[in-house]
Amino acid sequence: MTDSNFPDFDTMTPADFEKYLPDFFANGDGHVSSDPRLQTFLANNPDCAALVRDLETIAEHAKSLFEPSYDPSDTVWSNIQSKLNQPLTEDEDPPLAHAQ
């Protein structure tokens, strides 16, 4: 989305801002608070600035969840070993085989 798709950055209302916020996030690598086009608006609308900071904080902390937290039970590996030793039935034919 280009600037022409957005309202005027200096005169837009908080409602406009809310409407376009998903696009601001998607187009600005997630760093809306440092977008130079929005500095005046955010300075004049502290509630919007606070919202942006909160959403950026959530997105930033979400990356920490990429590191795994949980272990499957030992049964999972036992089942995998058992099934690997069985011949494939037609139903079990991996659909991935058709993807290439």
């Binding site: 509630d47 606070a50 919202l51 959530i58 949980y70 999972v76 995998i80 991996p94 993807a99």
Partner: protein, 220 residues
């Protein structure tokens, strides 16, 4: 059987996932050995990747039993098709895509039709984030406890959770998510935004965050 969006080739590496999935010591050797049917190599690859695959399944499904079933399926598919991995993208990127696609296929089979159904992806009004935009006292402190965030994510409605996990946790781009969920890019952006708003609301009321049964069970 043609499965839309189920790509097992590794010809389109995703830079974001490459960065977050650096090669693991001993992994390349294990992959080559596994291609030759080495059982020990399978075991090693499982040990290296089981937590990440299971955690991904658990976050997407919110259910321990189903997450374990999907983990099992993901590794069975992986081991049976490992010969098609050519090393053009990170192995874990390849494995994550495989897992995500299997989970989505599983959800579709269950009848949770994520395909182009806004009403399915969108949660009910009750679950939607409240329109509290503009209230000044909603600002978070600038840091979020990982455990609280984990609980809040688990509390999200399934449609929100799916897009949030795929984008903010796993690092997929909106266009990739749109392809996987067969929805528009705009829909993916919108769902992500609503998910973050809902998380903001949940994180502001940590006393109301109860640990979902799935996480309690998984933590045992």
């Amino acid at each position: 059987m043609d499965v839309q969006g189920l790509h097992m080739t590794d010809t389109k590496p995703t830079p974001a996932l490459f960065k977050r999935n650096p090669p693991i010591a001993g992994e390349a050797e294990a992959i080559e050995a596994a291609k030759n049917g080495d059982a020990e190599a399978f075991s090693k690859l499982y040990a290296l990747h089981k937590r990440r695959v299971y955690t991904l399944c658990l976050r997407m499904l919110g259910n321990v039993s189903e997450a374990e079933d999907m983990t099992q399926e993901a590794f069975l598919h992986l081991f049976r098709k490992i010969g098609s991995f050519r090393g053009e993208s990170a192995f874990s990127t390849w494995l994550h895509r495989l897992t995500v696609n299997l989970v989505l296929m599983h959800l579709r089979k269950k009848g949770l039709n994520l395909v182009s159904l806004e009403e399915t992806i969108n949660p009910s009004e009750e679950d939607a984030p409240k329109r509290d935009f503009g209230s000044r006292d909603l600002q978070l402190t600038g840091s979020v406890d990982r455990v609280a965030l984990e609980r809040a994510v688990a509390s999200l409605p399934p449609g929100y959770r799916m897009v949030f996990v795929l984008h903010d946790v796993e690092g997929f781009e909106h266009n990739e998510i749109a392809t996987m969920l067969d929805c528009s890019t705009g829909n993916s952006k919108s769902q992500l935004h609503k998910a973050r708003l809902k998380l903001r609301e949940l994180l502001r009321q940590p006393e109301q965050l109860v640990q979902p049964a799935s996480l309690q069970e998984a933590a045992r």
